[in-house]
Symmetry: C2
Subunit: 201 residues, 2 copies
């Protein structure tokens, strides 16, 4: 005995392929689709195909784009000598939302992970070397998370550029804004203490 | 400055129209779409249009169907004299998933709510009267939630059929299976005590 009408079942099954969407959420979403206007549903249907077909990594930095070169790399006002290296699209989006970064990105699309058998050649790293070789004294900001994979990748990139005329920095570690000190994990507190900033001397 | 590529933004905006999906979830879902196969995305795109265009209320019971008459109403093995009245499609799906109900449904698509200005004529109720009038001594099971709106609707339907040759029942109230008694709300405990079942006399 089938519980749902066929076309409803198909939509529920499709939604279940999205991350974090189980049976209940998929059902709720499918019912919401029936309540949406035909235009909205048609737009969603079209947006799916347009996104899937047109979006790909930028040929310069690996960030998500529907052009050959992404909107950051093709922006003349961005400082091409300041490259922020991030793990994935989401990190680049996060910095863009803040809106204060005036340099460009390099999206690795992964991190080196010996545990998962992901080596330097499996991530978008060689193109970073090519990019940097064409610049004169650029700064590379390593904006990778502080996991084993993040640290491994940070060390690896540091090593590649060690003998080149490149400034390498990493994001500051410390207290998140507004955090209660008593609830912070020991690692963060330790880092914040070690990296303390002198504000009067 | 736009954060996302245009086609990605459009997909994120579409997903945000779904219930319970905010900016973060929509972004995660849109990124997942890019990682899905073209076939899966194409299926989802098609499923949206198929569902929206083909699904509508059953002409007999108001349940969701892509036919004129739904698969429950058109099933010869279901007891047409036993009508379970539910608020919405979801409730009917829930009973179908359990799979033990052998009667048919009547989906009200709403509940009477004086507060929200929803009267008996705004829900799928007159067709229930028409259905019941053609049957000989049917049973109507009122499977509505125990909110003010649910109780109001239950009382209203009870009143309609009071002088007709119809058996009316409602779902049992009581302890949910497996519930810890100490954590149950007072209303439920009170109902469970009042509706206690004698098991030996």
């Amino acid at each position: 005995m089938e519980v749902y009408p066929k076309n409803f079942e198909a939509l529920v099954e499709s939604f279940k392929k999205l991350p974090g969407i189980g049976e209940k959420s998929a059902e709720r979403m499918a019912l919401a689709v029936l309540d949406m206007s035909l235009d909205d549903v048609s737009d969603m249907s079209q947006a799916l195909m347009d996104a899937k077909k047109s979006l790909h990594p930028c040929s310069v930095c690996g960030n998500l784009t529907d052009q050959d070169v992404c909107q950051v790399c093709s922006n003349e006002n961005r400082d091409k000598n300041l490259i922020c290296v991030v793990e994935d699209y989401k990190s680049a989006f996060a910095f863009e939302k803040v809106g204060n970064f005036k340099g460009v990105y390099h999206v690795l699309n992964g991190l080196i992970s010996p545990m998962m058998n992901i080596g330097a050649e499996d991530i978008n790293l060689s193109s970073l070397v090519n990019r940097v070789d064409k610049l004169s004294h650029p700064e590379i900001i390593l904006a990778l998370k502080s996991s084993i994979e993040g640290e491994t990748t940070t060390l690896y990139i540091k090593k590649i550029f060690e003998k080149k005329d490149v400034t390498i920095s990493r994001l500051a570690y410390g207290l998140p804004m507004g955090a209660e000190i008593e609830y912070l994990d020991m690692m963060t507190l330790d880092k914040a203490l070690f990296d303390r900033k002198i504000i009067s001397e």
